[in-house]
Symmetry: C2
Subunit: 137 residues, 2 copies
Amino acid sequence: MIGEKFKTLLSKNNLRLTSERMRLFNELKDSPAPLTINNLVKRTSDTLDQSTVYRNLDLFEELGVTHRVYTGWKYKVELSDSFKSHHHHMLCSNCGVVIEFHESKELIKDLDRISKKYSFNISNHSLEITGTCSNCS
Amino acid sequence: MIGEKFKTLLSKNNLRLTSERMRLFNELKDSPAPLTINNLVKRTSDTLDQSTVYRNLDLFEELGVTHRVYTGWKYKVELSDSFKSHHHHMLCSNCGVVIEFHESKELIKDLDRISKKYSFNISNHSLEITGTCSNCS
DNA sequence: TAGCTTATTGCGAAAAATTTGCAATAAGGA
DNA sequence: TCCTTATTGCAAATTTTTCGCAATAAGCTA
């Protein structure tokens, strides 16, 4: 169960599992596409204060629960690889649809090559594509 | 000359070449790494008003003169491929250094494959890597 | 289960970032 | 050099994000 992992992570760090955190986590989990902070503030405004949203998003990021992706004009937040399988995005600049796709072995190899070439220890990477989807072009 | 291209682009769109725009463009051109909007506001505050910076960065983006890259916590602005050769970034999460690198043929092939698979017409892509640089690890 | 400790929340307000209206200025074509 | 109008600076409004603090509630302990 994905929620269990979240709960464990919190307690391991002496952090409390509050209904607010659960709400935010679920909001992210249930979203088919990354959300802006503003999206999250609005979606939860019935029960959560904006400061709670901000504080917890910072926390989530620190804990590695979420990461920010930059699709389009503003960055957005989504669950990170530990909670959702690693993937990348294609953003249609016409209709705004976001398509997720998984990376190829070739890309992984390529990253490995780059890592060696620059003696750079890669911990994370993001690949974001923009263009027009099949419907729009 | 790279500046010429910029000038031509402006006049083609019935936009005027002002000293403020030139200043902003040069600030971007001369920077070895992408800049945050705030960086630009501060760097030019001796002669440019913040609203001028914001308005022109929007314009630059629309014209395709710049694009936003997401390295680290906030997004940054840099000249786009037409004005600076296409490249990607590695950000050291320890010391903050940004290393540029050029993409491989393999990556291009891979993008092409993805494009076909999803019938997605790719106009742009970004690959951002984080980790630790050779000095820090 | 009740009590205790303290992490977390909501609230209100402050600070920072971004946008806007408008009069004054200056780019660039005639 | 003149004229038209895009662009700027200024000041103020909005929007976004942060912060201090008292009230609340999570979760450990007895």
